[in-house]
Point group: C2
């Protein structure tokens, strides 16, 4: 007798590979891609040849490291985070293989099949995929100009008794929303009242082009458990896969052991490169240059959008991050249109992908990345897209 | 009202951090450690300064990469694996953040709470931890000199209807067992008959000191789904966290998407370093040197064990790998004794840690690593340990 392959129930929740396929196809030669969130190579700091006295060939860094991460990097990070308002000790920091791993660890920590999680609607699609893979029901809270609505938050906590809330308060992906300080404070109070854990994801923190408040909600809560996710993939070198989390002391030990079971520790040469950059003298200038390059690109896309999309869509100019979020006047499904766009050599990310499977996606939305395409490609690509949408 | 912290049921299965604590304490200065499985720094190949024409500072390798891994590395690996008997295409290879990640992905693929898995008894403790974290009941099969007993395997498949079997057929951790070709072939036939998936873990493959058969069972199965896990942490640089899996085509797409949800992709500079080593001219000599160093250390430990442990324990000389597995004549619990040993400056790994929580651990076993301690420390440490065990 030959039984059928017994794979886990979890696998039935692995969402379709649509996004993988889009991103793969979007990298075809000649394609003008607004689809992914690739940083611009010109904006990445040059990797130093000598690492401030650290020899990257040093066998010390080739040996197994600790699960927590390099003490040197954890120290530098604790220091670096003071500016954000997060006053934490190095032993609250866990170095990750990219901040995406922090979502995997958070899902392992909080989610059983059927667990309710709150998130924004729309939100980061790979977070949705990861939480849903573990069986979470992701309940989306609508986004206003200054963040989620606090009464809506309270109502959803009371109704759904969620295990945690996942938020991207600064330059939210995909909407570009940046929460006001007032909203951040009000959310922190609600979380404290219910002792609801927050997973705060801040990959875009440093990509600020207009001055706005970016105080982490994690720095405002007094009693609620919290996990803060940080990335270097948008500021330094995504290919190194070095990110981090900081967490309240009640959660940290679990996260540490989950990380150990997951991949033992993060690659050490990458950790040393990042630590040296944090400790080095070029940081301020590197970040200034990065913001300048991206602000220029954002403005160029704003200009091109105004030219080509004013009559068929609305959007807000994002104060930071990597994306414009467009709402077409007509609520058409942007997924089937993508195929046509790609035949014309232009890729974008259909808005539907950013909505939880627990609700109907809103139609007529698309996410456009402005960091990767050149300015002339941007002009040309948006003209092609606008013509396509106008014809439907 | 303030609800209690709602963490997942999974977390209740996070096993104690005993092993973490041992390994951390074992790295204290002056400690003679037989506890971990650290490779010897002198045995690691020197990291090349220039990467055979690849510039490690090249921005190409600092950008996001593909989830599958670098095509260059996947090609080199497919070629490298031919020697082992695994005839596969590069597109069956998934690059991992260390082969430990392959266990996490396999657990995600196969394990729901209550899923039965077969494994060896004893087996790799971090695999047990990871499978058990996801809720697997790990059913251990006893090890003979040439591997598990095939009739025992059939009986356990019929009784428990497991979802997969996890085996380390070459220089098994912790027992050092190397399966005979006959046993490998018989297991493959059984797996094909039941179409039972195998997860074959081979981190020690290259560490062979006496000639034995190492044909992967994955290369012998004809119909059963399979996952083959490979590591560079024992031969090259564990700090880079580069490992890989190869899988049958029915499993590969799931593993790829699980990897993407877990950490997007593996660090690219590390992948390039490994690929260059595989493609380079030093490989054969590096591996010869590595085997020579470790064979020498193994022989030194064999000699020291004969001198100090002959009257209180039995063991088999391992033909490869990194460990001796001792069975004390008296079945004492080696866990509480560890504290005393560490006060005397010597660390070892208690055997109890290598048994599934689904069964009673066997007492009186310990695992001794021979790759890390110097020969004089080895002599001194074993003398201290033998005296301690003799006194109990």
């Amino acid at each position: 007798m030959q039984p059928a392959l017994a794979i886990s129930e979890r696998i039935s929740r692995l969402t379709s590979s649509l996004v993988r396929e889009i991103l793969a196809a979007a990298q075809a030669p000649g394609m003008i891609s607004f689809a992914g969130g690739l940083p611009s190579p010109e904006a990445m700091p040059i990797l130093p040849k000598s690492l401030n006295g650290y020899d990257w060939q040093d066998p010390v860094f080739q040996q197994y490291g600790t699960t927590e991460g390099e003490p040197y990097l954890r120290n530098q990070l604790a220091h670096h985070l003071v500016d954000s308002g997060l006053m934490i000790k190095p032993d609250q920091i866990l170095i990750l293989s990219g901040s995406q791993q922090g979502i995997d660890l958070s899902a392992k920590l909080f989610v059983d099949p059927g667990t309710n999680l709150l998130c924004e609607s729309p939100t980061y699609l790979a977070a949705l995929q990861s939480f849903q893979l573990f069986g979470a029901k992701c309940i989306g809270l609508a986004l206003n100009a200054d963040g989620i609505n606090v009464e809506d938050l309270v109502r959803n906590i009371e109704t759904h008794r969620p295990s945690a809330i996942y938020l991207i308060p600064s330059f939210q992906n995909p909407s570009g929303t940046c929460y006001s300080l007032q909203t951040r404070q009000a959310i922190a109070e609600v979380l404290d009242h219910y002792q609801l854990p927050i997973i705060e994801d801040e990959p875009y923190r440093e990509l600020m082009y207009d001055h706005v408040d970016r105080t982490p909600i994690c720095s405002l809560v007094k009693k609620a458990p919290w996990i803060y996710l940080g990335s270097f993939s948008k500021t330094l070198w995504p290919g190194w896969r070095v990110g981090f989390l900081a967490a309240s002391l009640d959660l940290f030990p679990y996260l540490l052991r989950l990380k150990q079971a997951g991949d033992l520790h993060t690659n050490r040469p990458g950790q040393i490169c990042v630590a040296n950059w944090l400790a080095g003298s070029t940081k301020t200038e590197d970040l200034r240059r990065l913001r300048e390059i991206y602000k220029h690109k954002r403005d160029a896309m704003q200009h091109a959008l105004t030219k080509h999309f004013s009559d068929i869509a609305t959007w807000k100019t994002p104060a930071g991050g990597l994306f414009f979020w467009l709402a077409l006047h007509k609520a058409i499904d942007t997924r089937p249109l993508l195929k046509e766009a790609m035949k014309l050599g232009v890729a974008y990310m259909p808005g539907e992908a950013f909505y939880s499977t627990a609700s109907e996606p809103q139609l007529g939305k698309l996410r456009l990345n402005f960091s990767h395409a050149s300015e002339s490609d941007m002009q040309q690509g948006l003209e092609i897209l606008a013509r396509l949408f106008r014809s439907h």
